[in-house]
Symmetry: C2
């Protein structure tokens, strides 16, 4: 590796490329952009969440001169305490993003040792060899920024999550002028959000939701319950506005949502008066047609408020005939089944349920194909590096780049761990840095062990059978019946296992326990076509 | 219950309503419509597939005068051997559907005792007190039928799965005239497909796929691999046609696909000549740009051909740079993650991958909102009974019915197990018959045991810890160290468990094994915030 090359390193295992964390490095100085978490896939059994593999940084923590957070979503801030445990560098974020980070660190006890700094869109700061300009972009959380990064190897634009909403709820559209003016300086590489690269056309403005809310609020006779993400501050504003217009008070349920309302209204990102809101217990005593309850659980998480409401396990109130429930959200891939099950349950309890498929109660926060083309044409980069997406999204973004006129050889589709080097105005693939998923489970942070995961998978498929037997120490003969315990498996009562044990006692050569396990396993497979785990303990008494 | 009431009973637990099986009953005579299976949801651990609960029929198997199968998809025929094991009644199906049933029963050894009868669209047969007319409908498998059921209580129309494709691949559109003419006789109730009731507009014609295939085939330089369902006979025809037009030979891979090609071409539902196809091993020796391989695995199933190709585990060939892969399918809800992972893997191996989101390579086989309105207006029923869908789909179909002018009180949204009675031209809710999911696992057919499922869930989250210890029979003291085995759980090596055992030996009152299990469990929870299963075996020696 040349010491005059800029090195761009997306980290994060097989997850979305560069979504959770990227490292920009020049010489022996580096900058981290975003420190997010990933949610586990359905077959990642027992995993709470996933963080980027920080191994790459382990022996160069002192290289890191700063950590920049582009916006306040979990997939960009959620791993910050893990990163700060390892890297003591100043964190830079806009006011709302900083507020959300503070709340997060406060919950995890990491707030006092963190060096947090507020930046503003339009401002430029110096982080090691990089001059980083913060450029306002619209997204589904306010105060998001793209980055203009002036490096010794040239000027980069890192869009982070964005859309080109011309009429955003906070009336603060993406700073087109600034993006365009960067192109005059000559942008070497554009690293741009690929999340919606498979979606044709433009993403609708958040404003379309106002109309849908107005219509649903007009029809609703009883209580209105709106579920969304706790970080969707602009959606909160829209629901607050709709409640006011329809003479209803709003109340918020769920710790993270209540926290975020406080932060956002204190910092001026949420316009809500004391007259407009009431506490939940008070709201529940008011007439049904005078309240709106906003809560979490739009992904159908069983422990969330909406999840509990759908199964009648929320302690504050139950869903009743006449309630109107709005899921103002999109199922995160892999959650479709859970979300739809929750919707069915809410219907079953008598609610009218509105969700993205049947009413425009949600729009995406990410740029669609025409916006991605617009970004390329505004920035006019030499190189296009699709980030923020699975491989299929990056490939489609590359195709969009080609259509807009970027030569194929100037488009780099790279995955996490693939270093991209830029030197003398030329980009090239560097080495691959090792990296994988790092799973967080309860109090444990550990690298994936394929073995452990496979063992859980085995257990989950057919459960287990424990067989305990006593052998006479002198004769080697069975004493009494084997004790059989099953867990997650149903065993038909018969004597076969005892017979198997007796027969194998004489035949077994070598390890008796193992040969019994094998014999019982193949008997069970023959009988049931299932392969439960079998554990035998042999006692000689 | 009145003996002059017609009783309509959808069976199938919490699955899609009436999708897999419906019973029509009058007096002591009954008819079954469809005998399908459901695929398990992601949290139904270890389950192969799900069949309707047949308990309701157990003591009235002799009531059943016939079984009608509307079309050849798994969710309508897949449980037939289980039903025939219990109910010895003649089966009626159109030629292709019968062919697919025969192949299925042949694999399961149930063919010789089945009484299968071929019917034709346009024909009417008598089944007990019912006169059943078969009315051709277009769907994604050819030879599907809706049913006009003349009952002593009035005329019903049961649409089964349908769409109004004006230009279907087999040039045989839905029989609009016949449906319309039934309305002249006066249709009492319409039971209609709700699968796509949340989709606006009309479902596109299967023909749009021809254009997409033509475009992709024109661009492809290497091999073309098309993955789809084995039962999508019309899709096979489209791929055969595209291959011919582009001078490529076609080959089929996968037992079920090869079987279905034989059945469909023998029965005249697939137009393919010997010159057009070659066996797979021969195809693999031909130049890459002269072959098309059609295979199964469009749902990303790890054991399917496409699943194996994506992980380099298919024994016949590997994906190579220059291959073009087309997934001509839509992810079944819950499979999104697996399908997209497969697509990413295929891209990673160098293929160009086309799928529904980025190219019109698949269209739905079910009617969208405008078609559902059309069906209601063609049939002009007094009552609308939405079937084939989750509750949210039925609710939306009910809303569509209201918009078309069916009075709210004439729309019955019922779930599986809810009996609907019709007498003297009036419909009313009857009793609920007990019913649940019946899981098929390997050789076992059993009702859901929430316990077993919960045990598997527990095991899958944090694995298990087995602790075996020997106590001195006389002193009650520990002999040697406890033997600890973990599975699906990582235990940090320390002496705490030994200490816990020693401390608890004296303190434990009552069941030593249970109190040790509890003590170890709470220690592990304190340490790791995880709750692995803990099993202790105590031997006194």
């Amino acid at each position: 590796m040349s010491k005059h090359a800029l090195r761009i390193i997306p980290l994060g295992g097989l997850g979305e490329v560069g979504k959770n964390m990227m490292v920009y490095e020049y010489g022996r100085e580096a900058m981290i952009v975003d420190t997010g978490l990933m949610f586990p896939e359905n077959d990642m059994l027992g995993v709470d969440y996933i963080i980027p593999d920080l191994h790459y940084l382990k022996d160069k923590t002192d290289w890191v001169k700063g950590i920049v957070i582009t916006h306040g979503h979990e997939d960009h801030i959620g791993a910050i305490q893990h990163v700060l445990d390892m890297v003591q560098a100043p964190v830079y974020a806009t006011a709302l993003t900083r507020g959300l980070i503070e709340a997060k660190l406060a919950r995890n006890g990491g707030l006092n040792k963190a060096n947090l700094n507020t930046v503003h869109a339009g401002e430029t700061i110096k982080i090691g060899p990089f001059h980083v300009e913060f450029i306002h972009v619209s997204h589904s959380v306010p105060d998001g920024v793209a980055l203009g990064i002036q490096t010794p190897a040239g000027l980069l634009v890192h869009t982070a999550d964005f859309k080109f909403d011309q009429t955003p709820v906070d009336n603060w559209p993406t700073d087109f002028a600034r993006l365009a003016s960067l192109s005059e300086k000559g942008v070497l590489a554009l690293l741009s959000d690929s999340t919606n690269s498979v979606r044709a056309s433009w993403t609708p403005s958040e404003r379309v939701i106002d109309g849908a809310l107005d219509e649903i609020f007009s029809e609703a006779q009883g209580r209105i319950i709106v579920a969304s993400f706790a970080s969707l501050i602009s959606r909160m504003q829209q629901v607050v506005n709709a409640a006011s217009q329809h003479g209803r008070k709003i109340t918020f349920a769920g710790t993270s949502m209540v926290d975020n309302v406080k932060i956002a209204s204190k910092l001026g990102y949420l316009d809500i008066s004391d007259q407009e809101q009431v506490p939940l217990d008070q709201a529940l005593k008011m007439p049904d047609d005078q309240i709106v309850i906003m809560c979490t659980g739009s992904q159908g998480e069983p422990g969330s408020i909406l999840g509990r409401l759908s199964t009648d396990r929320y302690y504050q109130f139950n869903i009743q005939e006449g309630d109107t429930v709005i899921l103002s959200s999109h199922p995160i891939p892999g959650n479709e089944e859970t979300v739809f099950r929750t919707i069915n349950r809410l219907f079953r309890r008598g609610a009218s349920v509105f969700y993205e498929e049947i009413a425009p109660v949600h729009v995406s926060g990410h740029a669609s194909q025409e916006e991605l083309k617009m970004m390329i044409n505004l920035v006019k980069p030499k190189y296009l590096i699709p980030i923020h997406g699975e491989l299929r999204h990056l490939k489609q973004h590359a195709e969009i780049g080609r259509r807009v006129g970027i030569p194929t050889e100037n488009i780099f589709v790279i995955e996490n761990g693939q270093v991209l080097e830029i030197e003398d105005g030329q980009a090239r693939l560097g080495e691959r840095v090792p990296g994988t998923y790092v799973f967080v489970e309860g109090a444990d942070v550990q690298e994936i062990s394929t073995n452990v995961m496979r063992e859980r998978e085995n257990l989950s498929q057919s459960g287990l059978v424990l067989v305990k037997l006593n052998l006479n120490e002198q004769t080697g003969k069975l004493r009494g019946e084997p004790e059989i315990t099953t867990y997650g498996f149903i065993l038909k009562p018969d004597n076969t296992i005892t017979e198997l044990v007796v027969n194998n006692l004489s035949r077994a050569n070598g390890n008796l326990q193992q040969s019994l396990q094998k014999a019982i396993q193949s008997y069970l497979y023959e009988e049931t076509r299932r392969r439960p785990m079998v554990f035998v303990t042999v006692n000689r008494v």
